[in-house]
Symmetry: C2
Subunit: 504 residues, 2 copies
C-alpha cells in the first residue's frame, strides 16, 4: 500500500506516532507499506517543520524511524515525473527483494523498508502570481488561490488557463466521463489482488469476508457460575479458525483487559528485538499492541478497508483519545454509503473494558464513560452501542457486531469476573429482541401486576439490580418485583427507532 503523507499532516500526533508501524509489519505474511512523504513546504498559513530542517536532519529522522529514504526533488514537471517513476521502480524492487529474503526461510532480520521523499512546490503548476503576490510555491496556494472569479475577469482568465493546462480534452470523453486512456490505468480487480499490495486498499472489489459461526464454538456456558466474560470472548469468537483475519488492535492492554486467552490462537505482532523474558511476541502475530490508541485506530481503519475484520479493545476512559478519528470515520461511512461503487466494509468494533464501574486500583484518572455520549450523538444510521449484561450476551453481541457492515459498534463490558445470567440460547434470544423481561429475576405472577419494575443496562448495573431484587424479596416479601429488562441497548433505541439486534 502506498501511503502519501503531506508535510502538514506529518506534524500531527497520530501521524508522528505511526512511523513506528514498521516494527509491526511482517514481511513474510503481510503486504508492504510505502510511505511517500510529500514535502511541498506549507500548510494553511505557515511553512512546515519537516520542510524547514536541513535535509541531513530529515534523513536522520527518517532513518531513526526505521526507513531508508529515496529523495525526489524538483519543480519541472516532466523531469520530476521521470525521477518519481524511477524512484518507484527502485523502492518496489527493494520491497520485493526484502519480502523474498524474509520468505526464503533463513534467519529473520528486521527490514529497513524504503520510502520516498517527494519535494515539489506547493500549488505546483497552479497560478504563479496573483495580484502581485507569489502563490505557487507558497502557503497562499493552500485554500482559494483565485477568488472572486465571478467579478474579476483577470482571475477568471487565470483560472481558465490553469484548468486548461490539465488538457481536459485528453482526459474526458465528449460526454463527460473519464476517457479510455485514463481508465486504462485503473487496475482490474483480479490483477490488483495478485500483482502487488500497493493497490489493495484502493481497490473497491474487496467485500467483507464471511465469518463462520463465531458464537457456536464458544460452547454453552452455565448460568450463575463465575466467569470472566472477557476471558471467554478472548478464547472463542472465531479467532482460532481465522487467525489471519481477525486482528486485535489495542494499546498494550490485551492482558490487562483479560483477553489473554487469544494468545492460545495467535501472538502479538513484533519485528523488533525479542528477549528470552518476552511472552507471546511473534513475527506473524495477529494481536497488534502499541501504546498509541491513534495508531491502533489507524491500523484497524486501513485493515477494514481491505475487506477484513477486526476489533479494537481499549480502556473505556482512554478511548476518548480517538474521538476525533471516530467522528471522521463515521462521517466517511455515512458519505460512502451513498456511493454505488463502494462495497460495504466490516464495522469498526470497539470493546470497552476496564469501565467506569470497576476501577479497583486506578481510581479517578481511569474513569470516564463519556465515549458512549460521544458516539450516541451521532446518527443511528451509523452507530450502535451495546451493554451486554453477561458472558453469553457478550458472545452473541461479538458474533453480531463482527458480522455487521458499515457501523461503528461500541460494546461496553467489564473485565472483572461476573455472574452468567443467561444460557447461550437465552442470550441469543435476548440480543435479538434488544431488551428482555427476566421473569425469573422478579416475583410477579400472572395474577398480580408488579408493584416495582427494576430496569437496567450493562453488566454491573444488572448485577446491582439483581441484588436489589433479591434484597426486596427477602425484606419486603409483600412487594411484587417486576421482571427486569436485561441490559442490551442498541443506540437506535435511544433515538426512538426500533430496538432491534439480530442475533446469530
Amino acid at each position: 500500500m502506498a501511503c502519501v503523507i503531506g508535510d502538514g499532516e506529518a506534524e500531527t500526533g497520530p501521524l508522528a506516532a505511526s512511523w513506528h508501524s514498521n516494527k509491526f509489519l511482517d514481511p513474510v505474511h503481510d503486504g508492504a507499506v510505502l510511505p511517500i512523504l510529500h514535502l511541498n513546504g506549507y500548510k494553511i498559513a505557515n511553512p512546515t517543520v519537516l520542510a524547514r530542517i536541513p535535509e541531513s536532519e530529515l534523513d536522520e529522522l527518517l532513518r531513526g524511524y526505521g526507513h531508508d529514504p529515496v529523495y525526489v526533488t524538483g519543480d519541472q514537471p516532466a523531469a520530476v515525473h521521470r525521477a518519481m517513476a524511477a524512484a518507484m521502480d527502485t523502492v518496489l524492487d527493494r520491497i520485493h527483494a526484502a519480502q523474498q529474503r524474509a520468505r526464503g526461510g533463513g534467519e529473520r532480520e528486521r527490514v529497513r523498508w524504503p520510502m520516498i521523499v517527494l519535494r515539489t512546490p506547493k500549488g505546483w503548476t497552479g497560478p504563479a502570481v496573483v495580484d502581485g503576490l507569489p502563490v505557487e510555491g507558497t502557503w497562499r496556494a493552500h485554500q482559494v488561490p483565485l477568488d472572486g472569479t465571478r467579478e474579476n475577469p483577470e482571475h477568471l482568465a487565470m483560472l481558465e488557463a490553469w484548468l486548461r493546462s490539465y488538457r481536459p480534452e485528453e482526459l474526458f470523453d465528449a460526454a463527460g466521463p473519464p476517457g479510455r486512456r485514463v481508465l486504462a490505468v485503473v487496475p482490474r480487480a483480479a490483477a490488483a489482488g495478485r500483482r502487488n499490495a500497493l493497490l489493495a486498499a484502493a481497490s473497491c472489489d474487496r467485500r467483507p469476508r464471511p465469518l463462520r459461526g463465531a458464537g457456536r464454538q464458544a460452547g454453552q456456558l452455565h448460568a450463575r457460575t463465575h466467569q470472566g466474560p472477557r476471558r471467554v470472548a478472548g478464547a472463542g469468537d472465531g479467532r482460532h479458525r481465522h487467525p489471519a483475519r481477525l486482528p486485535h488492535g489495542r494499546p498494550d492492554e490485551t492482558a490487562s483487559n483479560r483477553l489473554q486467552a487469544v494468545y492460545a490462537a495467535t501472538g502479538k505482532a513484533w519485528q523488533a528485538l525479542t528477549l528470552p523474558v518476552d511472552e507471546h511476541l511473534a513475527h506473524d502475530g495477529r494481536v497488534m499492541e502499541i501504546l498509541s490508541e491513534h495508531t491502533c485506530q489507524g491500523w484497524l481503519e486501513g485493515y477494514l478497508l481491505t475487506g477484513r475484520h477486526g476489533l479494537f479493545s481499549c480502556y473505556e476512559a482512554f478511548v476518548h483519545i480517538v474521538d476525533s478519528m471516530v467522528n471522521q470515520h463515521i462521517k466517511w461511512l455515512r458519505t460512502t454509503r451513498g456511493l454505488s461503487w463502494r462495497a460495504p466494509i466490516a464495522s469498526l468494533n470497539y470493546l470497552l473494558t476496564s469501565h467506569v464501574w470497576r476501577q479497583d486500583h486506578n481510581g479517578f484518572s481511569h474513569q470516564d464513560p463519556g465515549f458512549v455520549d460521544h458516539v450516541l450523538n451521532k446518527s443511528p444510521e451509523a452507530v450502535r452501542v451495546y451493554f451486554p449484561p453477561d458472558t453469553n450476551t457478550l458472545l452473541s453481541t461479538a458474533d453480531h457486531v463482527l458480522r455487521s457492515r458499515d457501523y461503528v459498534n461500541v460494546v461496553v463490558a467489564g473485565k472483572q469476573p461476573c455472574f452468567d445470567w443467561l444460557s447461550l440460547d437465552q442470550a441469543r434470544a435476548h440480543c435479538a429482541r434488544g431488551a428482555g423481561i427476566w421473569e425469573w429475576a422478579g416475583s410477579e405472577s400472572p395474577e398480580r401486576e408488579p408493584d416495582v419494575v427494576l430496569a437496567c443496562a450493562g453488566d454491573v448495573p444488572t448485577q446491582e439490580v439483581m441484588a436489589a431484587s433479591s434484597l426486596i424479596r427477602r425484606h419486603l416479601p409483600g412487594l411484587s418485583v417486576g421482571g427486569q429488562c436485561g441490559g442490551h441497548r442498541p443506540a437506535a433505541a435511544r433515538r426512538g427507532a426500533s430496538a432491534r439486534h439480530a442475533g446469530a
Copy 2:
C-alpha cells in the same frame, strides 16, 4: 524545565509529535526544556519500541528530532547516580552555553538542544524474582509486582524488605513528615526562579499574574455595524500590552480563524529556516502554530502551570482531537483544587471558531459541535461554556475568561463578519447576568404580555432569531414578540446552578 518521558508514553501520538517543539523554543527569551527519555524497556505487558531498536537507530531518531543525546545506562544504582549527575552537569552547561551564544546578539543559528537517554531496568531495585518468575527488568514490574500480601507471608516479607531498602528512617522524621535532609533539596521559591529553568514548572509559588483591563482598550463599538468579532478580539484583548504573557496556541489557524490582527503585536514563534516569502515568523513570536492540536494543548497546559495566561483557538470540529487531554486536565484541576499548596492557575481557555453554523466551503468534514457536549458532561465546578452573540459580548467574555482561575472555558464564536447588537457597556451588563431580555428586539409593551418569546444562544442563532423577530413584526403585526434572551450561557445554567458570569 526537565521533562521525563517514559518509553511507553513515547509511543503515543501526542508525545511523538511534541519532539518538534524545539523548533519553537527561543533561546533568547524562553527558558529551556531538557527531555530525559527514560528507557526502562517495558510498558504494561510488552517491550517498548524505542528500547528494542538498535541504539544507533535511536540516536538517528533523536538527532532527527533536533536533539543531541547524552546516554546514561546501567543497573548499579550508585554508578548510575554518579553517571546521571555528570550527565546533568554536562547538559545544563550546554544549555547555558547555547543560551549565552544566542543572547550574545550575533547571527542566530538554530540550537541543537541536549537531552538525556537514561536506560535502567524496569522495576529497578524492586523484587528481582517473585514465585520463580523474573520481575525486576521485566514488564511484570509494571502494576502489582507483589500481590496477595495479606495471605502470602513470603510476599509480605519481600514487600517489607523492598520498602525497607529505601531506608525510611533516613527519609522521614519519627512523626511522619519528610526529614530535614530531604527538605534541604527542595528549592526555595526565590532561588528556583533565578537559578535555572528546571524547576519552574514544578515550583508552586507561581500565581497567575494579573491582566490589565483587557476589554477597556478595545474601545466602544457601534451597534449594528458589520465587524468580524475575531478580528477585533485579535487586536484588542491586552496582547499588545503584555506580549510576553499571552500566547496563542493553535493548529496553523490564526489567519484562517481571522485572528490575524494579533500580528500587529507579535509574530509567530519559529526557529527553523525562514525564507523571504514567509510572513510574521519571528524568533520571539508569542503566537505558537503547529499542525498538532495535541502539541498546542501540551504547550498551553505547561505554560499555564508557570503562572501565565494563554488562549487556544481551534476549528470547532477539530478540537475533539484533544478531548482526552481536556478530560484529564479537568480531572487534574478538580483534584488539585483540594491541595492547600497548589496556587490557582489561569484557566485553560478555548476559542472555537469556524463553527458548525458556517462551513461555507469545507462542508460535512469540518462540522462538529460535539465538543460542547463533551465539556458539558463534566462538573460545573470545573467547566464553563460561552456563546457570545456579537463582538462586544465576545470582548467581555474574553476579558472574563482570561481573568478566571482553574476552569476550562470554552468560547464558541464564529469567524465570519456579523452584526454588533450591543455596545460594550450593554455587553458587559449582559455578560454579568449571563442572559438578557432584549426589549428593543421585540414588540412587547408594558400593557401587553408577549404572545411569542424567541430565545437563543450564540452568534448565528441570535442573528437568525433577530431575523425571525423582524419577519414576524412585518408579516404578523398583531402578534406581540417577546424580548429575546441573548445567547450567553455559562455551563452552570444547564446544571440548574445559578447562571452567573462576572463581567469586567
